[in-house]
């Protein structure tokens, strides 16, 4: 059981020594070849893509990349993708579909980048297209939230058959800071917003958004990155074997239903 509050987890996942996807890839996959570019505009280092081997299964990997130091973060834009990042993700997902490889997405972003060029190149359209195309992608998709699951920028890699959260990871429609500044006109009250928004792994299970929580040993992934990597790998292998047993049309119907049934309303 994770006893930390949402705010404590928020602080923890922002720590500079929190492991990133670059720490996990060598621990989870036997081979990994990075593939670059969206074939339309450029290559966005905030999203990493490639082909890899998981146990004996060829897979496509798509991941948002937090930097481990300032230099890396400059390159990866603090894991805030531009449209070309999402379009690279879609290109690689379609490639995976062609070769009947499952897609594994690692989510770890404060959100899609908000800037002039991102708007000019259609940030909204890029995310929207991913939501629609991932929903009907004819191969299995498994996503894992490693740290921050920031809004639409996270969801763009989050339309999947199974979603897992690392035990301290968060997933939210708005940053707690943004919520606090709208609600109380005071961004400094983000810790209060954090607890209101219901953004923890346990919340995601209860609300039907995630299916599994992956344990971070000794309270935080950084305490044992090897064991965390092993736990992620174990989840992925088990889940892929489960998904492989399903007819693809049934899998797609279930994927649609997973999202279709989320919503709380009453009628008259």
């Amino acid at each position: 059981m994770n006893e930390l509050s949402a705010w404590e987890r928020q602080l923890l996942i922002r720590e500079k020594d929190r492991p990133t996807v670059n720490d996990y890839i060598p621990l989870i996959f036997d081979e990994f070849y990075e593939l670059h570019g969206d074939r339309l505009y450029g290559d966005d280092a905030a999203i990493l893509g490639g082909i890899a081997r998981l146990d004996d299964i060829p897979v496509t990997v798509i991941a948002e990349v937090k930097g481990r130091d300032l230099n890396e973060n400059k390159k990866t834009n603090f894991a805030m993708p531009h449209p070309e990042g999402y379009r690279k993700a879609l290109r690689l997902a379609k490639q995976a579909e062609k070769f009947h490889r499952p897609v594994i997405c690692f989510i770890d972003t404060p959100g899609a980048f908000c800037g002039i060029e991102a708007e000019e190149r259609g940030q909204g359209e890029a995310i929207a297209k991913n939501l629609m195309e991932f929903m009907r992608l004819r191969t299995g998709i498994v996503s894992v939230v490693l740290g921050e699951g920031g809004s639409g920028g996270a969801l763009a890699l989050g339309v999947c058959d199974r979603l897992a959260m690392l035990s301290n990871a968060l997933y939210s429609v708005i940053s707690p800071r943004g919520c606090a500044s709208i609600l109380w006109k005071n961004a400094e009250r983000e810790h209060e917003a954090c607890d209101i928004l219901q953004i923890t792994a346990e919340d995601m299970i209860r609300l039907g958004v995630a299916e599994e929580i992956i344990d971070e040993p000794n309270g935080s992934a950084k305490h044992d990155v090897y064991k965390t990597g092993e736990n992620i790998k174990e989840f992925l292998v088990k889940t892929l074997r489960e998904i492989f047993k399903k007819d693809i049309d049934i899998l797609l119907e279930e994927r649609y239903t997973k999202f279709r049934k989320i919503g709380e309303f009453s009628e008259g």
């Binding site: 899609a112 908000c114 800037g115 002039i116 991102a118 708007e119 000019e120 190149r121 259609g122 940030q123 909204g124 359209e125 995310i127 929207a128 297209k129 939501l131 629609m132 195309e133 929903m135 009907r136 809004s151 639409g152 969801l155 763009a156 989050g158 339309v159 997933y171 939210s172 429609v173 708005i174 919520c179 709208i182 609600l183 209101i196 928004l197 219901q198 953004i199 919340d203 995601m204 609300l207 958004v209 649609y256 999202f259 279709r260 989320i262 919503g263 709380e264 309303f265 009453s266 009628e267 008259g268």
Partner: protein
């Protein structure tokens, strides 16, 4: 008040489209009788603004319509049949003051949530239509908006009908937490289904369409139309200005900017909208009800 609005709307539709409006000179007129254009700052009498379907006579900014106004100027008279008119959202994450806020808005607007969906005829052609209304929590998308859009699209897919959505939104509805975010995936999935059913999907982006709505069903139209000078974007202006530490140009994220960047098919004026929509539907093989 609302009924008066409707009279104006109807009058306009009966051919008063080119009515002249007079500029305002008197500084002593109470503010609530005036409309100040958010694009060009031109000030006119609200009555005159209403009489020209809320289009700024100085700069052609197409202002925000209520869902009822939009429906009455878009569909054939008396043809609108609402879907799911009584659907209301719960408070899934017990967000503070959410219920009270909604109660007050339901009373002041007569709406149940930020979208009205239904079936109607446009120049005789049956269509599924949805209209968002910014008076209701900036037309943010929570469970009700997501569910009503999804149901409307699923019905159209099943009955082989085209879908036209008039979008306007501040984005996902914070008060429903992650449930709101998931409506983006849900509605985009429904659009995929409509595509598989081979049916036409038109989105009309109206002022303002932003955030999670831009990043889902609004951007996915087979044909994407925008109204003149509508603000359309993913990130809010102020957020971007905060990031880059400078003021953005006035035309940033307007419909005219989007068409230049390649994200909108056409900009259509309100007075031509019915005509354009009906012709596009006909080009896709949809027929008038009596011709079928």
């Amino acid at each position: 008040m609302l009924e008066d609005l409707f009279k104006n709307v109807t009058k306009r539709f009966n051919g008063n489209e080119n009515q002249e409006t007079k500029p305002v000179n008197n500084n002593k007129i109470p503010d609530d009788l005036l409309f100040k254009c958010p694009r060009c700052r031109n000030v006119i009498f609200k009555e005159d603004y209403m009489a020209v379907n809320k289009v700024c006579p100085a700069c052609n900014y197409h202002g925000r319509l209520t869902a009822q106004e939009r429906i009455s100027i878009t569909v054939d008279k008396g043809s609108f049949r609402p879907f799911d008119p009584d659907m209301v959202s719960k408070n899934p994450i017990n967000f503070p003051d959410y219920e009270q806020k909604q109660k007050a808005l339901r009373e002041s607007t007569g709406l149940k949530d930020a979208i009205v969906t239904g079936e109607a005829l446009i120049r005789g052609i049956p269509v599924v239509i949805g209209v968002m209304d910014t008076r209701y929590m900036m037309a943010s998308m929570g469970s009700v908006v997501g569910e009503k859009i999804t149901r409307a699209i699923e019905r159209a897919a099943e009955n082989k009908m085209p879908v036209i959505l008039f979008t306007a939104s501040g984005g996902a509805r914070m008060q429903e937490g992650i449930i709101s975010l998931m409506q983006m995936a849900k509605t985009s999935g429904a659009v995929a289904k409509l595509g598989e059913a081979g049916q036409l999907y038109i989105t009309v982006l109206t002022d303002p369409t932003t955030g999670g709505v831009t990043a889902s069903f609004a951007s996915l139209g087979d044909i994407v139309i925008a109204e003149p000078k509508a603000l359309v974007g993913f990130a809010g202006r102020r957020v971007i200005e905060g990031t880059i530490k400078q003021r953005l140009p006035d035309d940033f994220q307007l419909a005219e900017f989007l068409i230049e960047k390649g994200f909108v098919d056409m900009i259509v004026e309100r007075k031509k909208m019915r005509s354009v929509l009906s012709h596009i539907m006909k080009l896709h093989g949809y027929k008038k009800r009596e011709d079928r």
